[in-house]
Symmetry: C2
Subunit: 202 residues, 2 copies
């Protein structure tokens, strides 16, 4: 059984999580399943029409400072995006339709890098196209697929599944029936995996 | 320079933090300053009239499960309190007036143990008196002081200072000008201390 990584492209703490999850999980011999979803509908269900980091400025100020320190510790570049949160709908539709593609992890990391390290608008299809190119994806075909009803449905269904699983923020990790919320719970999720998931041949 | 530990007696994640901070900090050669405050006024300033874990039940359900796992990992007993949040006003007045007392850390741990391991109502003065007894405090004198205007002012001022420092939740840790929020940031706060606080004689 793998670890499911639930992320939203606008989510600040999903950035360090996306950048480190593959190497951390691989070090433990655990596969990662990448699950894009949208926080917007989930926040709206809680009565919020914006990021809680904007709605509660005291918490928002703390978050940016905390993220500064976290990225510095992790050796990650960080530019506070001039627009927050950014609209990651197109990127999320692509990711939700490409779960089995080998280029997906590199694409996801590229979108986070664009948003949080290069301050690019990930709502723009040219920016997303650049991320696809660099990840080695068949860019034109992927963008065409992303505009289809099937891709829209795939993301909608994945977001509904996130709600069913009890997700309320990102990043989140799911191991079996257990939910872990926050970049700082990645290690706990992997510890849970090691303690509770039987390995073949043991 | 020490690490300031800001806690609220009703706060769930303050429980594991209170139980481990002294041994973890001592292992790094750092003194702990214990700072009780009230979250109520801070939550009200954000428009909340109850714990966000009650106002947002999806988040609340997750928190209790997360706390189960955390306490199990830390070897701490946990009973979900039958009343949440409990009123820690009396205990907080005592703690805010007793910052320099040798019995304070044991008293604070005792109150958390009463609330979260023994499901006792920490709003009751008999319960608080029992915690004072076990911590070796002069119980009658401490309870008398706690009813004074000076004790009420001390807690009010400490809560106002928490707001000035940008605190919005508990537990929080302050090292110099840096704020760290959450039990899972204790190690980061101590890392910051090690990297940035000059030690005498070095």
């Amino acid at each position: 059984m793998a670890i499911e990584f639930w992320f939203e492209f606008a989510s600040t703490y999903s950035y360090p999580a996306a950048m480190r999850i593959e190497s951390v999980a691989r070090g433990r011999g655990v596969d990662v399943v990448w699950r894009a979803f949208l926080l917007g509908p989930i926040f709206r269900a809680q009565g919020w029409n914006d990021s809680p980091f904007n709605l509660y400025p005291v918490k928002g100020r703390y978050m940016w400072r905390d993220l500064d320190r976290l990225c510095e510790t992790q050796g990650l570049p960080l530019q506070h995006p001039t627009q927050f949160p950014r609209n990651g709908l197109l990127a999320a539709r692509i990711a939700a339709s490409a779960a089995d593609e080998a280029w997906l992890p590199a694409f996801v990391r590229g979108v986070y890098d664009a948003n949080f390290a290069r301050d690019l608008d990930i709502a723009q299809s040219e920016v997303v196209a650049g991320c696809l190119e660099r990840a080695g994806a068949p860019t034109a075909a992927v963008l065409e697929t992303a505009a289809s009803e099937a891709a829209k449905s795939a993301l909608r269904e994945q977001t509904e599944r996130a709600q069913t699983l009890g997700l309320f923020g990102a990043p989140s990790f799911v191991v079996g029936d257990e939910l872990f919320w926050g970049n700082d719970r990645l290690e706990a999720a992997l510890d849970w995996h090691a303690a509770h998931v039987p390995r073949p041949g043991r």
